[in-house]
């Protein structure tokens, strides 16, 4: 067979996919949803007595107004991208994993423990091992959820949720105990050894995490569309009966998806610790997990599309800080925008299902 045939097939496939996107108008419907939530936000800003345009301008400037701001936004994007891609993978398989929050927390602790243990090791050893430590810890936590879910038939939403609460307490316990910095003014670990700091990219205040995250999202997209495992996940997400009929083990798929998502969330935690705080600090993971769900949804559960989705949330949040600094619109507004966006996107994408 000539090489031309598959290539032709591929372009045909891409074309139909693009056509399908256009015909279903998925992209434009998400666009309308975003627009609607911004309109609602504008109304709320006006209600608070501020000028919505001015506020949005402040958000934009705060998000991309300078090289530094861009870097900050990218850093903010990183954990959302990583954990959101993992959540998207689970959602694809029909597993509602809302445990990213706890997995990030535990992952951060794992990375911190590894980095502290590796004091003295060169960066080339310390950073990868610490990140692996974070990913492993996140996986472990997600695995625990999978085990309870599969073993005892408890709904995954409840398991992952309850484990979130436990994970946060666990990290506090670690900080009050073995990982804590003696005499520190707060629940925090000692500073990581410098060799474990995730370096900044030249010229930007952005750490290497964003690269890892983009690579991970691309890898996940590859897994989803080009591997048998991804195929099985997609089948089971569409119909569990069909997946069983196809000979895929639902339990194994659940393990696979949960462990992968856990590893990514753990990695996100590790990157936060090594790249942002340079130490494990109480509450560093609060709220990431639920936003990962927003991001996965916004990205229509497609890891590559999670990139712009995470970027959107990252920009929005880093911009919103600037908004409050400059014109005093409360940041709670951003939570409102996120909630509204989720709702509108849900309605928009479900309408034609």
């Amino acid at each position: 067979m000539s090489d031309a045939a598959p290539a032709a097939d591929q372009t045909a496939r891409l074309q139909t996919r693009r056509l399908r996107l256009r015909r279903d108008g998925l992209g434009s419907r998400i666009g309308v949803a975003l627009l609607l939530s911004l309109l609602c936000a504008a109304a709320l800003i006006a209600l608070a007595g501020h000028n919505p345009l001015e506020a949005f301008l402040a958000i934009v400037q705060g998000a991309v107004g300078s090289q530094h701001q861009i870097g900050a936004s990218l850093n903010r994007t990183t954990p959302y991208l990583l954990s959101g891609a993992g959540v998207a993978l689970c959602f694809r398989a029909g597993i509602i994993n809302i445990g990213a929050e706890g997995q990030i927390a535990v992952g951060g602790a794992g990375a911190a423990a590894a980095a502290l243990a590796l004091a003295g090791a060169p960066s080339l050893v310390a950073i990868p091992l610490a990140l692996v430590g974070g990913a492993l810890a996140g996986s472990l936590w997600a695995g625990l959820a999978a085990a309870i879910h599969l073993g005892r038939g408890v709904h995954e939403v409840l398991v992952t949720l309850l484990l979130n609460f436990i994970a946060l307490l666990l990290v506090q316990q670690l900080l009050a105990g073995p990982l804590g910095q003696p005499g520190a003014g707060f629940l925090q670990s000692s500073l990581m050894p410098r060799s474990a700091w995730l370096s900044h990219l030249a010229g930007f205040d952005v750490h290497a995490g964003i690269l890892i995250a983009v690579v991970a999202a691309a890898a996940l997209s590859f897994v989803l569309w080009w591997t048998r495992f991804g195929f099985a996940l997609r089948v089971s997400g569409s119909s569990r009966l069909a997946a069983a009929y196809a000979g895929f083990s639902l339990a194994r798929l659940t393990w696979g998806a949960m462990l992968t998502a856990g590893a990514l969330a753990g990695l996100a935690g590790g990157i936060e610790v090594l790249g942002m705080h340079r130490r494990l600090i109480e509450g560093f993971s609060l709220g990431f997990g639920f936003k990962a769900v927003t991001v996965a949804l916004l990205g229509a559960m497609e890891p590559l599309a999670v990139v712009p989705a995470a970027l959107f949330v990252g920009l929005l949040e880093s911009g919103s800080l600037a908004m409050q600094r400059q014109i005093g619109v409360p940041t709670a507004l951003i939570t409102v925008i996120e909630g509204l966006t989720m709702l509108f996107v849900l309605a928009a994408t479900a309408a034609r299902r």
Binding site: M1, R20, R228, S238, S239, Y245, G247, S249
Partner: protein
């Protein structure tokens, strides 16, 4: 004579399909009208329009002198129409009494449970329905469930009763009981619309018959003096009866599929063998263990005890994947959610069970180029009419969807094929095609288990025929020795 129901010029379209094309239908009090027609001829649609579940695109309905337009099921019921759907509309988790009270004004806003239970017992006794108001519907047989539906209609004083294929799920004893009840209702002056594909019972119970074809009325006749052949001709029109594929007596080879002392929930102990080049047909009323049997063989349900071997290899506890590797193919009856993933493309559905093997995949990876090429080839071979392999399977017509399943399962050159309702919902051409492929597979030496509730189909292609009743085989006969009366007795051998 003034008609109880008067439907005039009903038109209903679904996209390009004209399901009802200017249909007129009258029913008088104390009359049973048979509604006949091939699959997809528009019977159910017409009834849904009558019952207010679908708005018509044109036409008028008048019931007992009152016009019915833009109505809802609630309004239809209030007017005195009751509908018994092909798939029962009962809540399994609730009791008979609760199902009866659901949505019924007389039950009161504050439910009068005791009074209702008494009334249920009363009517149930009067019509010989034998229903316990406190029984949970989930625990009732299909025949009983249907009686619950009839009970609902009687209790609500329905004047017009619509029964959409009420007998297709019933054993013959149950059918007889149903017909008795219907006669009784006719005596009481109710009107009845009776939809069925089974001509003998139509001739037995109906007063007149209306025949639909492709959404139009192609015949009306009074039953007196009508014959089955006449009705069949009105239904099928110029199309001659489906040609029966020629069967050559098979030369029995060694056993390929063997089932010994097999026991699983919902099944009685089963033992049988299917040999090389043999089609083993399983007939019987749906719900007698067919689904349990095929799914257990396919590896989708846990086995209780006993042994299943394929070509001498024990697969009793093997996974679905392991059975696939041993050469077991399976066409499930549930096309919608098991056999196909409707949101995925034709190509992806063709590789559903073979994604780990060339040309679809290699190791952990999918090989999309070769997979698409293969899909094109299969689409040509099996006449799957889709624009290209990336077309979404759920948007194809039912027949083309089924062809995907057939292509996928046969292309693997299976040693053993389990086909469950393989021609379900297919038009005659497509049915013919599927049966042809089965026979070709038989020639190639496979062992085939062909399970269908359509006796005709089973008789047409099986070397041996078994009848399933109450989870076991009521009897097995070779093709040459089939006695239709005996088959009927076996089929009815199921508790009411």
């Amino acid at each position: 004579m003034s008609m109880m129901l008067d439907m005039r010029g009903i038109v209903r379209r679904f996209g390009h399909v004209v399901a009802n094309d200017a249909i007129d239908l009258d029913v008088a009090a104390g009359e049973i009208v048979g509604l006949l027609g091939e699959n997809g001829s528009g019977k159910s649609t017409l009834m849904k329009v009558l019952f207010g579940m679908l708005p018509p695109d044109a036409g008028t309905i008048s019931f007992r002198g009152q016009p019915l337009t833009g109505h809802t099921p609630a309004a239809a019921m209030a007017a005195g129409i009751a509908m018994i759907h092909q798939h029962f509309m009962l809540v399994d988790a609730m009791t008979v009494a609760e199902n009866v009270m659901l949505g019924w004004r007389d039950a009161g806003r504050l439910l009068r449970r005791k009074e209702m239970a008494d009334r249920i017992r009363d009517v149930s006794r009067r019509f010989g329905l034998d229903l316990d108001p406190d029984a949970r519907v989930a625990a009732l047989s299909l025949g009983r469930r249907q009686r619950v539906e009839i009970l609902k209609a009687i209790l609500r004083n329905a004047e017009l009763l619509v029964l959409d294929e009420p007998t297709s799920n019933l054993a013959s004893a149950e059918v007889a009981e149903l017909l008795t009840v219907l006669r009784r209702l006719r005596q009481e002056g109710k009107g009845i619309i009776f939809i069925s594909h089974k001509l003998p019972e139509v001739l037995e119970i109906c007063d007149k018959v209306v025949v639909l074809r492709a959404g139009r009325v192609t015949g009306r006749t009074s039953v007196a003096g009508a014959s089955q052949g006449m009705l069949a001709e009105m239904m099928i029109g110029r199309d001659v009866t489906a040609p029966r594929p020629p069967m050559v007596a098979s030369s029995p080879g060694p056993a390929r599929l063997s089932v010994k002392d097999f026991l699983a929930p919902g099944l009685a102990r089963l033992s049988f063998e299917i040999r090389r080049g043999e089609i083993f047909g399983v007939a019987g009323v749906d719900g007698n263990g067919q689904i349990e049997l095929v799914e257990a063989l396919a590896g989708l349900r846990p086995a209780g005890s006993g042994a299943i071997t394929i070509d001498g290899h024990d697969v009793t506890r093997a996974s679905v994947a392991a059975r696939l590797t041993r050469g077991l193919a399976y066409m499930p009856a549930d096309r919608g959610t098991t056999a196909l993933v409707k949101t995925m493309s034709v190509a992806e559905n063709l590789m559903l069970r073979d994604s780990g093997r060339p040309p679809y995949g290699h190791g952990l990876l999918l090989t999309r180029g070769p997979a698409n090429a293969k899909a094109r080839a299969l689409m040509a071979d099996y006449d799957i009419r889709a624009r290209d392999p990336s077309f979404i399977a759920g948007r194809l017509s039912g027949g083309n969807q089924q062809k995907i399943v057939v292509a996928r399962e046969l292309d693997r050159r299976p040693a053993v094929l389990i086909a469950h309702q393989a021609a379900w919902g297919l038009d005659p051409g497509a049915t013919h095609f599927v049966l042809d492929r089965m026979l070709a597979l038989r020639e190639a030496g496979a062992a085939i288990l062909y399970v269908s509730s359509e006796l005709e189909e089973v008789l047409a292609i099986s070397d041996r025929i078994a009848v399933m009743a109450r989870g076991g085989f009521a009897g097995i006969v070779p093709r040459g020795e089939v006695d239709p009366r005996q088959l009927g007795i076996w089929m009815a051998g199921r508790a009411a």
